[in-house]
C-alpha cells in the first residue's frame, strides 16, 4: 500500500542493563505508536556510557526517519544523552532562558531550594525545539538531523526517563508534533474489543468468517490472549478505515454479545465500577484464596468508593464464621473450598454490608494445601444478589500470583455477566 516510516526507540541507562529496573517505556511507547498507525521497527537498550549511546544513535540515524531516545537528560554526571547527541550532530549547546525560568518556578512552587547543578538541564543544542516538562525539570528535546550525508532521520526526540514525566510529554507534545511533521499517508483507525469467557481460537472460530469481507477488503484483524481475556483488534487504513472498523465492531458485538466487556484500554475492574455507578448499586467482597487481589483491583479505579462498601479477606475458617456468618457445620461437612461455603460467604458478605452484590472466592492457591480430591488450583466463585446466589467451580492450576490474577478475573467476570443477566 505505502512505504511505512521507520521508527526506532533507544532506551539508555545502566540500571536497565544491570536488570535493576523494568523497562516499561518499550511497551508504552510502542503501543502509543501502534494505536495511531505507526509501527516501531526496533528498540534498543544500552548503558549510559558514551560509546554505547553513540553507537546506538549513529546506527539509527542512518536508517530511521524517527528516533526516540529516553533517559540521560537529568542533572547528574551519568546523564550524558543530551551532550553526546549534540556532539554527534555537531551542535553547540546554549543556556535556554525559558528552561531556566521553568526550573526556577518548579523549585519555587514546591518551596524547595534549587541545587545549582540542576541548571545544566537548561543547556539546549542549537536549532532544537524544547518540550517543557510539566512533572519535572528536564525538558524534552526535538532535533531535525536530516540533511547531512548518510542521515535518514527527520526527527530525533529525546525524552526524560521517569515514566510520569515521559508519558504526559509524549501524549501532549510529541504526538501533535508527529501528526504535523510526519503525518500518515492515509487515514488510520484502530479499535480493540475486549472479551472474556472464551479462548483465543474459539473467538477466532466464531467471528473470522463473518469478518471475511472486511479483511478481504484490507482491514487487519488481530487477536491477543491475556489472562482471562482475549483482545480482538481491528485496524483500518484508507478512506474506508472508519466505516470498516465500525462495521467490524457491530458484527463482532452481534456474534459475541455480552462476552465483549470493554473497548480499547478499559480494564474489567473499571467496567464493573462504571456499571455499578451508573446503576447506583454497591458491592462487597468475601475473598479467601485471592487474598485481597479483587479488592485491590476495584480500589485502583478512581471513584470506587461510591460503589465499594467493604472487602472481607477471610483467610482463616474462624474469620469466615465471624465476619461472614459461614456455619461451622458447613465448613466441617463440606470444607472451606466447597460450593456450600462459597454460597454462604457471598450471602454473608451481602447481608453484613447491605451491598446489592457480593462476590465470594474460596480455593487452593498453592503451592501447598492440595489434596487428591481438591488439588492445587481448585476454586469456587460465588455471586449473591437480589436475583439469588450463583456459584461456579474453576480449576486454575498456575503459580500463586497467576492463580490470584486469573481467579480475580473469573470472579469479576461472573459478576459482570450476572449484572447483564447472562451468567
Amino acid at each position: 500500500m505505502f512505504d511505512a516510516m521507520r521508527i526506532e526507540i533507544i532506551n539508555t541507562g545502566s540500571e536497565l542493563m544491570l536488570g535493576r529496573v523494568l523497562n516499561t517505556h518499550q511497551q508504552w511507547l510502542c503501543r502509543q505508536f501502534a494505536d495511531r498507525g505507526y509501527t516501531v521497527n526496533r528498540q534498543v537498550a544500552v548503558d549510559d556510557t558514551g560509546p554505547a549511546i553513540e553507537g546506538a544513535v549513529c546506527e539509527a540515524l542512518g536508517r530511521a526517519e524517527l528516533i526516540v531516545v529516553t533517559g540521560g537528560l537529568g542533572p547528574t554526571s551519568d546523564d550524558r544523552t543530551r551532550d553526546l547527541i549534540a556532539a554527534l550532530l555537531g551542535k553547540k549547546l546554549h543556556e535556554d532562558s525559558s528552561v531556566v525560568a521553568h526550573i526556577q518556578d518548579y523549585f519555587t512552587s514546591r518551596r524547595r531550594p534549587m541545587p545549582a547543578s540542576t541548571l545544566i538541564q537548561a543547556m539546549v543544542p542549537e536549532n532544537t525545539q524544547v518540550l517543557m516538562n510539566a512533572h519535572g525539570t528536564a525538558p524534552g528535546l526535538v532535533m531535525e538531523p536530516v540533511g547531512s550525508a548518510g542521515i535518514a532521520c527527520r526527527l530525533l526526540v529525546m525524552l526524560p526517563g521517569p515514566p510520569r514525566e515521559l508519558r504526559p510529554m509524549f501524549s501532549e507534545q510529541v504526538l501533535p508534533l508527529l501528526r504535523d511533521r510526519l503525518p500518515l499517508p492515509v487515514p488510520f483507525v484502530c479499535r480493540t474489543l475486549k472479551t472474556t469467557g472464551m479462548g483465543e481460537s474459539q473467538v477466532e472460530e466464531k467471528i473470522a468468517l463473518s469478518l471475511r469481507a472486511l479483511t478481504d477488503g484490507g482491514m487487519d484483524l488481530g487477536y491477543c490472549a491475556r489472562i482471562g481475556e482475549v483482545d480482538v483488534r481491528f485496524v483500518g487504513r484508507g478512506v474506508e478505515a472508519q466505516r470498516s472498523v465500525e462495521d467490524a465492531e457491530r458484527i463482532v458485538r452481534g456474534i459475541l454479545g455480552p462476552l465483549v466487556f470493554a473497548v480499547d484500554d478499559e480494564q474489567l475492574e473499571e467496567t464493573i465500577v462504571r456499571l455499578l455507578a451508573s446503576r447506583k448499586q454497591t458491592i462487597a467482597l468475601a475473598e479467601s484464596c485471592t487474598g485481597g487481589a479483587i479488592a485491590d483491583r476495584l480500589t485502583n479505579v478512581p471513584g470506587a468508593s461510591a460503589v465499594f462498601l467493604a472487602g472481607l479477606v477471610t483467610y482463616s475458617n474462624e474469620a469466615k464464621q465471624k465476619f461472614l456468618g459461614v456455619r461451622a457445620e458447613t465448613l466441617a461437612q463440606h470444607g472451606a473450598v466447597s460450593e456450600a461455603t462459597v454460597r454462604e460467604m457471598a450471602e454473608g458478605a451481602r447481608t453484613a454490608t447491605g451491598a446489592d452484590y457480593a462476590i465470594s472466592v474460596t480455593g487452593i492457591a498453592g503451592p501447598g494445601g492440595g489434596t487428591p480430591e481438591k488439588p492445587v488450583g481448585t476454586v469456587w466463585i460465588g455471586v449473591a444478589s437480589a436475583a439469588g446466589t450463583i456459584a461456579q467451580r474453576r480449576f486454575n492450576a498456575f503459580d500463586r500470583e497467576t492463580f490470584k490474577n486469573v481467579t480475580s478475573q473469573h470472579a469479576l467476570d461472573l459478576l459482570r455477566r450476572q449484572m447483564h443477566g447472562a451468567a
Copy 2:
C-alpha cells in the same frame, strides 16, 4: 582489571513492537547475568519478520561473545528464529529424536492429542546442543558460531519466549553452561542489602565514608532507590571478593541496624511472613485507602495462611463501625482520616480476630476527596499489639496506584520495626 565479555540479548516478536505485551525478559535476564558478574551490553527487540531478525543477529555475531535470542521457536508460521539463524550460519536442520520423544511425552502425560505441526520444534541445526524444555515443547538451542570470518560470537543461545519456560531453562541449563564455557577471569561476589526508612542520599551519607577503605580497594558500591526502599549493592571481584563483601555487609548493618530488612531479592512482605512464622505469631489487617493492597501483598507469599488471619477492607464508614468497632463519635468528631480512627481500626481488627498484630490504614488516595486540612495523599497508619498501639501520619501525594504502593510499604515497615522494638 580485565576485558569484560560482550553480551547481547535479542528479543523477537511482533507483539513486542506493537506494544501488546511487556518485555520482562530484559530485566530478568540482565539481572541474572549481573548477579553472576556478567554484564549485558545491549538488548534489542525486533519484530518476527526475516530481515529484522537477520539484521539484529548479524550485527551481534560480529561483536558479542555471547548472544541470547528469545522467542520464535514455537510451531506456528511466525516462529522463524530457528530457521533464520541456522540459515545465517549455514547449518542444515535435522529431526532430533530426543526432542521428538520429549514432545510426544509432553502430550501423552497431559492426555492431549499431539498436533502434527508440533514436531517442527524437533528440527535442530547441525552441531547444536539441545536444552530440553521442562515446561513446554520448544527446546532451547545452543550453537558455537565462532570460527567463520568476522564472527566474534562463541555462544549463541536460543530460548523459548514464554517466561515460565525460559526462566527455569536459563537457571538450570544455561547458567551451568556459562560457568563452564565462558568462565569469569576472577572470582565475583555480589550482595544487596535492602533498607527502608531513609532516602537514597541519606543512606549514602551515612555509610559511604565507612566503606571508603573497601571501595578504594576495588569493591563496587551502588544504590538503587525504589518505592519506599533503597537497595545497597556491593560487588567484589578477585581473591578478596568474598571478604570485602562480607566486611561491607557487617559495616552497613552496624550503622543502619534495623533499617536493613532483607538480603538480595526478599520482598518486605516475605520478611514479615518469615518473621511472624518464626515467632508463631499472627496478623490481621484493617485497610481503608490501600483497598486490599496490603492483604494482596502478604498473600502473595507462600505459607501466608499460617500467619495471616483476616484483612478487613473497610472502605465505608459503616464497615469501619460494623467490622472494626470504630465508634460513630470518633468518626463524627475526628473524621475517617485521623489518628483516633486509625487507632480504633487497628485495635478493633486485633480484638475481632485475636491476632498478635494488626495494621490499620486510612487516608485519601485521590484523585478526589481532598480538603485544605486533609489534602490528597494524607494517610494515617497504625499498628496494634500486646505492646500497645502506635500511629504515624504520612503524606504520600502520588497517583492512586503509587499511593497504594508507597502506603502499603510504609505500613508493612511500621509493623516490621514494631516487631523489632524499633518503631
